[in-house]
Amino acid sequence: MHELSIAEEIINIANQYVPSDNKSEVLFVIVEVGKLSNILPDSLEFCFDALIGDTQLKGAKLIVKEIPATVECVDCGNISEIENVIFHCKKCESSKVKLIKGNELKVIEIEIND
């Protein structure tokens, strides 16, 4: 249940980008969450909604873009998305793979009605 502290950090970062004119309304906060980041999107959205209260982000919607785990094969160079998080190359079945996507936990952008 660390989504609460993750939601707090997202709000802290997003708040730094909201213009201080009190006229702007933040519509969306967009984040990327990798499959291996151990974050449950529904739970993150719930925590975000609960925490924004009367802050500058009041009324904003959190949009979570889920990033599948993707590996690059060290042996044949093939790039493939993996399901069930079994680390092997889909083409040559080698287990020597580098994780190139799937650990993301990033605030990407905010959309403002100004």
């Binding site: 249940m1 660390h2 502290s5 993750i6 950090e9 997202i10 970062i13 997003a14 980008y17 519509l27 984040v31 291996l36 980041s37 151990n38 069930n84 998080v85 079994i86 680390f87 092997h88 287990s95 020597k96 994780l99 936990l105 990033k106 605030v107 990407i108 952008e109 905010i110 959309e111 403002i112 009605n113 100004d114």
Partner: protein, 217 residues
């Protein structure tokens, strides 16, 4: 309507503090490990056994993380080892800020190995860098051989797997072979040790390996 690009890591603050800790550890020639596992797999028992085995060979200090109580710190203190207890009051993982505050309470001149025992949880601690050299995941045989597949991030992000409670294998449905192959399918680079903190089996191999890492750092 306008879009503002941010592109910042959510855990950037934690990572920055972890890097500060890492620099300080390096300056002081301290090797740090972050022990992670589910509750009850034997983290504190393994710390006790490591301390007993390494007595007179490695100078150890411990940072204990628990949701509540200082029971673990009391166990370590009884062995005359410097220990700082972090009580998270409900938080399911240690963060670098908490570890930094504990680390600065220790006398760095008298430490060669810092053991950070995380909160018992196979999910949340995997994403938080604490400045350690290695994450060491402990899995006990009573938990079952399927756990690496169910909690892949923890096993992928760890360098060492210690399979504990191997003395109990005859009383469980756990297959050590299956456990090892499941873990290696998530992380082929995992170095695996097998231990029993009750009989002491395998503790020597683990401690000798740990000592060799300290010499090579």
């Amino acid at each position: 309507m306008s879009r503002l690009t941010i592109e910042r890591k959510v855990l950037e603050k934690n990572d920055a503090i972890a890097n500060d800790i890492r620099s300080s550890l390096k300056e002081n020639n301290i090797f740090a490990i972050n022990l992670v596992s589910s509750p009850g797999s034997g983290k504190t028992s393994l710390v006790e056994k490591t301390i007993e085995f390494a007595k007179g060979r490695i100078k150890i200090a411990v940072i204990e993380g628990d949701v509540q109580t200082d029971l673990d710190a009391q166990r370590i203190e009884a062995l005359n080892i410097p220990v700082i207890q972090i009580v998270t009051n409900g938080a399911c993982h240690l963060e670098a800020g908490l570890v930094r505050d504990a680390y600065y309470q220790l006398n760095k001149d008298t430490i060669e190995l810092l053991i950070i025992e995380n909160v018992g949880n196979l999910v949340c601690p995997s994403g938080y860098d604490l400045g350690e050299e290695l994450k060491v995941v402990i899995l006990s045989t009573t938990e079952g051989d399927d756990k690496p597949l169910k909690y892949p991030a923890m096993f992928r992000n760890s360098s060492i797997l210690i399979i504990n409670k191997i003395d109990l294998v005859p009383y469980t449905h756990c297959s050590l072979e299956k456990l090892r192959s499941n873990a290696l399918s998530i992380n082929p680079a995992l170095i695996i040790f097998e231990t029993s903190c009750t009989t002491g089996e395998g503790i020597d191999l683990w401690c000798n390996w740990l000592e060799s890492q300290l010499k090579h750092q």
